[in-house]
């Protein structure tokens, strides 16, 4: 098998808080192949965004390794890391908060080109900006407008153009369509699909929306309280979810089909605190199948069939 573009090994990110250590990402490992999309799903506070940001070293990891094209990025110096960031970009959730309100569309998209001294000639830089705007479907006339003058969909297109400016190989998309209306959401999802084909991009697509992740991903990783509980190819995960949390999560999606009502698994209680978690399976307190052995030992992520990984005592 070819070397994966991205390999994450035993990644941990802890935050110190007054109440104790918050295990935001706790021993997460996975790989992403070149040109593919890994969807990362889970509910708020499960560590999916922290995982995305730690992979890009926007947050420094507590421990673990991330290999990008075989290079351990956590061992890079700040200067080497800056060069590496050209390859690895991020698109943020909130296009209202991730764009500088005092800069024009043209200035925002040109910023990475300026900072990295990619194109120093202002005229050529503007040509490149216009080319990027065309790529993401922003009309030329918006080059001198400010973000507040545009709607959410267009703002997200600016964020995408900015990420593309460096011609990256890999983009972390952190809830890129969550703030958008469905008709606009579909436009942006189609744009991301087209760009992936056009430039051979590899994505990590972080979302809480399971219909979106199903549409968009080749593989899906499910996170719960900082841990990866299941990972499988998209079709397999939806047809044969093995982890009880994945099963409940999938059953909770409201489906716009009146003839096939979902048989819903209603979970007890809510997410436990990620601060100083107790040993044992973190899902056990809400799990309908939990037994004593779930309380004592944290289940390991094991490959139960090719490409299908699950961390559950029932699958052992």
């Amino acid at each position: 098998m070819a070397q994966p573009l991205l390999e994450v090994k035993n990644l941990k990110k802890y935050f110190k808080t007054k109440k104790g250590t918050l295990h935001a990402v706790d021993d997460v490992s996975f790989t992403v192949e070149q040109g593919k999309t890994l969807g990362v799903v889970g509910e708020s506070g499960c560590g999916k965004s922290t995982t995305g940001r730690t992979i890009l070293r926007l947050l420094e990891p507590t421990s673990g390794q991330v290999f990008f094209e075989g290079k351990d990025i956590f061992s890079l110096s700040p200067r080497q890391m800056r060069a590496m960031r050209k390859e690895m970009q991020i698109i943020f959730q909130d296009p209202y908060a991730s764009l500088n309100p005092r800069k024009t569309v043209g200035e925002i998209i040109a910023m990475p080109l300026v900072l990295n001294k990619i194109i120093t000639d202002p005229r050529k830089r503007e040509e490149r900006v216009l080319e990027l705007m065309e790529t993401v479907g922003l009309a030329e006339r918006f080059i001198n407008t400010y973000p507040h003058e545009l709607d959410g969909g267009r703002r997200q297109r600016i964020g995408i153009a900015r990420a593309l400016a460096m011609e990256p190989k890999f983009i972390v998309c952190d809830e890129p369509v969550s703030a958008l209306d469905v008709s606009i959401q579909a436009q942006i999802l189609n744009l991301l699909t087209t760009l992936q084909k056009q430039f051979g991009l590899t994505y990590i697509f972080i979302t809480h929306d399971l219909s979106v992740v199903h549409h968009f991903s080749d593989d899906i990783a499910v996170m719960y309280l900082g841990q990866l509980v299941e990972k499988a190819p998209t079709a397999e995960l939806f047809e044969k979810p093995l982890h009880p949390y994945t099963q409940a999560l999938l059953s909770a999606i409201p489906i716009p089909d009146i003839d096939h009502p979902q048989k819903r698994i209603i979970l007890r209680g809510e997410l436990a605190s990620p601060i100083n978690p107790k040993p044992g399976c973190r899902f056990a307190p809400r799990c309908n199948y939990a037994s004593e052995k779930c309380m004592n030992k944290t289940p390991e992520l094991r490959e139960v069939s090719p490409g299908h990984f699950v961390a559950c005592a029932l699958a052992e």
């Binding site: 509910e43 219909s211 549409h215 409940a248 409201p254 089909d257």
Partner: protein, 338 residues
């Protein structure tokens, strides 16, 4: 005799409602002649995108439109036969939280952070019912338990609850006076999907138990399929299509409704590309002439930009506002894909 029973069963009837926000920058035409009717015990979904006017319709029923700049410029809103638009502010106060309650989208901002949740529930009960403070407090604890929260937590403050629990408290407040009509504005949008499932299940149980009529405002057609009896599709301040759940999901007619369905990623049938609606929502200060959807519609003909569509009844329960369904307009549409 039959007419009489139907009148008794009609909880809410809105006719020709027009609401504007009159600002220095121009008049925002938020609601432009809405008609709707809700029977006892039924749930109506108002579906549409940001700025369609869904929330303005809901706030008009409670007369909570901020004035200025908001003005109800025409129409009537009848609650059990009484026109709320003729009510005084004091009469309205007696209705809000009693006969008509509302659940807002964001439970983090709809609770008072400096009052205990018990006090917030008891407050509504004391305003509307002739009970002592002690009785109101006792009822508040019962309401908490009804929504699945331990009654002892009545003395805790909102910040001590998670998002899903806070929304349960809001539901407890809304239901504490056993309302005739419950308006829920995106009640689960701020919640995670497993918590959303719990809250929707709870709302369904309670609604069946108390025969409450409900208006559910949402953009999620999945939630509509699971919780509602009837659906109104709102676009640019008009109801462009209305019908039973089956009419809307199985016999979709309006090109905008078709576009909404096509924009959704389908879990059952995965396609490489989605079919979004082209363009953007129209600017409500400057609505397009003719049919407000025509600039985004794939089937639009010249006449669509000139003449406003009339309401066409396709059956007793299903209507649509689109020139393709009127005789002699020359506009045609291919049926929605499979």
């Amino acid at each position: 005799m039959e007419i009489q029973t139907s009148e008794i069963n009609t909880v809410l009837e809105i006719q020709d409602l027009v609401v504007n926000y009159e600002t220095d920058d121009g008049i925002v035409h938020a609601v432009n002649g809405v008609n709707l009717k809700l029977e006892r015990g039924r749930t109506l979904a108002l579906v549409g995108e940001t700025g369609a006017g869904k929330t303005t319709i809901a706030l008009s029923i409670l007369r909570l439109i901020q004035d200025p700049p908001g003005k109800i410029r025409g129409g009537s809103i009848r609650l059990e036969g009484e026109d709320l638009l003729t009510y005084t502010e004091r009469q309205m106060e007696a209705i809000r939280g009693d006969k008509v309650s509302m659940i807002f989208q964001d439970p983090m901002t709809s609770l008072n952070p400096v009052l205990t949740v018990g006090d917030q529930i008891a407050e509504v009960i004391q305003i509307h019912q002739k009970v002592s403070k002690a009785e109101a407090e006792k009822k508040a604890r019962e309401m908490l338990e009804l929504v699945g929260i331990d009654g002892d937590r009545a003395k805790e403050y909102p910040h001590q609850f998670s998002g899903g629990m806070k929304q349960r408290v809001v539901i407890a407040i809304a239901l504490s006076c056993n309302p005739t009509l419950l308006i829920a504005d995106e009640p689960t949008t701020a919640l995670d999907v497993t918590i959303q499932a719990q809250v929707l299940e709870l709302m369904k149980e309670l609604r069946e138990k108390y025969q409450t009529s409900m208006i559910m405002i949402t953009h999620d057609l999945g939630i509509v399929a699971e919780t509602c009896d009837e659906v109104s599709i709102v676009y640019a301040g008009r109801i462009v299509e209305h019908g039973t759940l089956r009419d809307i999901f199985k016999n979709t007619k309006h090109p905008y409704t078709v576009g909404l369905f096509n924009s959704l990623p389908n879990i059952k049938r995965r396609k490489d590309m989605l079919k979004p609606i082209k363009g953007l929502m129209p600017d409500p200060t400057n609505l397009p002439s003719g049919c407000p959807f025509h600039p985004r519609c794939d089937h639009a003909q010249e006449i669509c930009s000139k003449r406003k569509p009339l309401t066409t009844y396709l059956s007793d329960t299903h209507f649509v506002e689109c020139l393709a369904y009127e005789n002699g307009t020359g506009v045609t549409i291919a049926e929605r894909e499979g």
